[in-house]
């Protein structure tokens, strides 16, 4: 008896231990995911917007102290040609790049395996007063006489507010997320504006107007549609919606923000309909009957009693719909055309944050600047959905009870 009880207790303890262990592991894993994501993402702010092994150097007599990423880009694009525009002498900027090294030196000078290249670069920078040289760190020799231009680390505000996203631009990557954030918000906003009235009307119809039989068919089938993979919706958008928009609006490409919004609206519809219908049906019968008994029509009862009563549930539906739309990747990637510019029209291509991650992660080298920038995008996305969840948890849920 004693032994039996002891064994029973032991078994209890072991099982409880296993369950606790699995629960703890899961919780720790969840927290580790978040930490990992942010650690990698914040890494982007610890470095200059240039791959670590590359540098920019000038002649030691040059007085320009610092250059912003934008200035460097303008110089290499030919938009800034004079040092005076940057606070230096009144000379034109002479660019030196290792890619076109053969225009500066002959093959004999460089040697068969470019073994003299570091020496030559050094000499060139020492000789040319107006040079701005862009080359790999490994070419710096011992007696290097030039001055390396320090690049400022990427600032959080620059990252969020710059309006150019060219993460692979040379020599300096342009990492401005603003077009991507705006693209995401634009597409989501229109999607919800399209889906909300349609979804709400359908939900009201199902909850209040339709006969029980119609409802019992509609409800499960609409729930079913919520499970269809986003890539299928994207495919549908690509083969039907995109050509349609191109024809109807007579635009050069059909892959536009509008196409993305419509696809997202279609995808958000089942969620919005199901959740708001559920909440409309929680309106107590007494309220409804009281309203009808006071002489209000069914239509008035719906608008003045039932919808206001269920407003928190409807808000929940909108919030969840927004959450789903913001993070949607494949469908948007397939139909929006992916141009990383600040959107000005729904009939032009635009690009969202998730689509950017999906489109560019394959070409970003592991641990590099571009890779970290994509992680930072992931963090932004995480924060957006986190805020949406918080709103849901603290504003919508308590009202239900």
């Amino acid at each position: 008896m004693q032994v039996n009880r002891f064994l029973k207790n032991l078994k209890e303890k072991i099982i409880e231990g296993i369950l606790t262990l699995s629960g703890t592991i899961t919780s720790i894993a969840v927290i580790l995911i978040i930490i990992f994501l942010f650690k990698e993402g914040i890494g982007v702010f610890n470095q200059a917007p240039m791959e670590k092994e590359l540098i920019l150097a000038v002649n030691k007599d040059n007085h320009v102290k610092e250059l912003t990423p934008r200035q460097i880009k303008d110089i290499f694009d030919g938009k800034i040609a004079m040092w005076s525009e940057l606070g230096g002498s009144k000379d034109s900027i002479k660019l030196f790049r290792t890619e076109d090294v053969s225009t500066y030196f002959t093959e004999e000078e460089l040697g068969a395996n470019f073994e003299h290249l570091p020496q030559k670069i050094n000499e060139y920078i020492a000789r040319e007063k107006n040079v701005l040289a862009f080359f790999n760190k490994k070419y710096i020799t011992k007696g290097f006489s030039g001055r390396i231009i320090p690049l400022k680390k990427i600032g959080v505000m620059d990252f969020l507010l710059d309006n150019e996203w060219f993460p692979t631009a040379q020599p300096v990557a342009q990492l401005g997320v603003l077009p991507l954030i705006l693209g995401t918000l634009w597409v989501t906003l229109l999607a919800i504006l399209l889906a909300l009235p349609l979804g709400l009307a359908t939900a009201i119809y199902m909850a209040e107007i339709a006969s029980p039989k119609i409802r019992s068919i509609l409800k499960p089938t609409i729930e079913l549609l919520a499970g269809i993979p986003s890539v299928v919706y994207g495919f549908f958008g690509l083969v039907v919606l995109v050509p349609f928009i191109q024809r109807v609006f007579n635009v050069p490409v059909g892959e536009t923000g509008l196409a993305g919004s419509i696809v997202l609206a279609i995808m958000a519809l089942p969620t919005i309909i199901t959740i708001s219908e559920d909440s409309l049906r929680t309106a107590p019968r007494q309220l409804k009957e009281a309203s009808l008994a006071l002489g209000a029509s069914h239509w008035q009862t719906i608008w003045r009693v039932i919808v206001p009563y269920s407003s928190s549930g409807i808000t929940a539906a909108i919030i969840l719909g927004v959450g789903r739309a913001i993070g949607e990747t494949m469908a948007v990637l397939m139909v929006t055309g992916n141009a990383a510019v600040i959107p000005h029209s729904y009939l032009a291509p635009l690009r969202t944050i998730p689509a950017t991650i999906a489109a560019e992660l394959g070409e970003a080298s592991y641990g590099g600047l571009h890779f970290k920038a994509l992680f930072a995008l992931g963090c932004i996305l995480f924060i957006m959905t986190f805020i949406i969840n918080l709103i849901f948890e603290f504003i919508v849920k308590p009202k239900k009870h």
Binding site: E16, L224, V232, F235, G295, I357, L361, G378
Partner: protein
């Protein structure tokens, strides 16, 4: 309801109601038409492609002909792998959270975190899986990395479903069982779990449907563009249905020619999701009936 509407309302009110209801009917008709139009379209275009050969043979001629067998097998592997990982851990964590962990800040915090994770976009999981599993742990692009990534995606959903299922079991069951001298685990395993099981199982089937259609998490963790052979180990790459649909409709060798294959693939994907949903609904109904009688 119309029986309840008092007679003698002003005509204006009645006209408003008729017009309003008519508008709502029309809108619902439109919404249903759009949603079903998509399904109908995929079925209509995809059915001609659905032959036995399409399901059982390899892609040919730069994926413009032949079948999608490797992609079906690949998706099968990924679903199996992710569920082997996520289902036991998810259910155990759910049981721990609901039956063992006492209410308090810790529980609220864990619940908030899992809820949050459930709302995180799938592409973020792909990003994470690629960095951790593929690169840091050096699994490479493999079934293992892909399954773990998809498993992480499904984990919070499974935990939540388990918790909901356990919560719906009335507390009187537990109290009665404990009062009879049963231990906690006996109560959980012999009383609570049997009642909650159908709902947990339904959750499993629904997550299978969801996992088989996810594209973004497998883009960089496992999916192969073209690989006409079957995997031999968990460190092999595989093709997968949703990724296959994505590549042949956006960047295939000949997009126009491979359209038929794309429709077929979309149809297979939809069928998997529909089958899992219908099966889940069936199980739920079956057990509800059984519990009532």
């Amino acid at each position: 309801m119309s029986a309840l509407t008092p007679k003698g309302n002003s005509t204006r009110k009645r006209i408003l109601q008729i017009v309003g209801f008519g508008a709502f009917r029309a809108i619902t008709g439109f919404v249903v038409a759009v949603l079903f139009g998509i399904l109908f379209f995929i079925f209509h275009e995809g059915l001609p492609a659905m032959t036995w050969k399409f399901i059982t043979s390899n892609p040919e001629n730069g994926m413009t002909e032949g079948g999608i067998f490797p992609a079906i097998v690949g998706t099968g592997c990924l679903v199996l792998g992710s569920m082997l990982f996520a289902f036991p851990i998810g259910v155990m964590s759910g049981i721990w959270l609901n039956e063992y962990l006492k209410d308090g800040y810790l529980k609220r915090f864990i619940n908030m975190m899992t809820n949050n994770l459930a709302g995180v976009p799938s592409v973020v999981f792909g990003l994470f899986g690629m960095a951790l599993f593929v690169n840091q742990l050096k699994f490479g692009d493999s079934i293992l990395a892909g399954s773990l990534t998809l498993g992480l995606l499904a984990l919070p959903v499974i935990i939540r479903t388990t918790e909901e299922a356990l919560k719906s079991v009335d507390d009187s069951y537990r109290i009665a069982s404990l009062a009879l001298g049963a231990s906690q685990w006996q109560t959980v395993s012999k009383v609570v779990l049997p009642v909650a099981f159908p709902n947990i199982f339904t959750g499993l089937i629904l997550s299978i449907g969801r996992v088989s259609g996810e594209t973004a998490p497998i883009l960089f963790t496992v999916a192969a563009y073209f690989l006409p052979k079957l995997p031999h180990s968990i460190f092999d790459q595989v093709m997968a249905l949703p990724y296959h649909l994505y590549v042949i409709s956006t960047s295939g060798t000949d997009i126009e020619k491979s359209r038929v294959i794309a429709y077929g693939t979309a149809l297979v994907l939809i069928c998997i999701v529909l089958a899992s949903n219908i099966l889940a609904g069936f199980i739920r109904r079956y057990y509800t009936k059984k519990n009532k009688t």
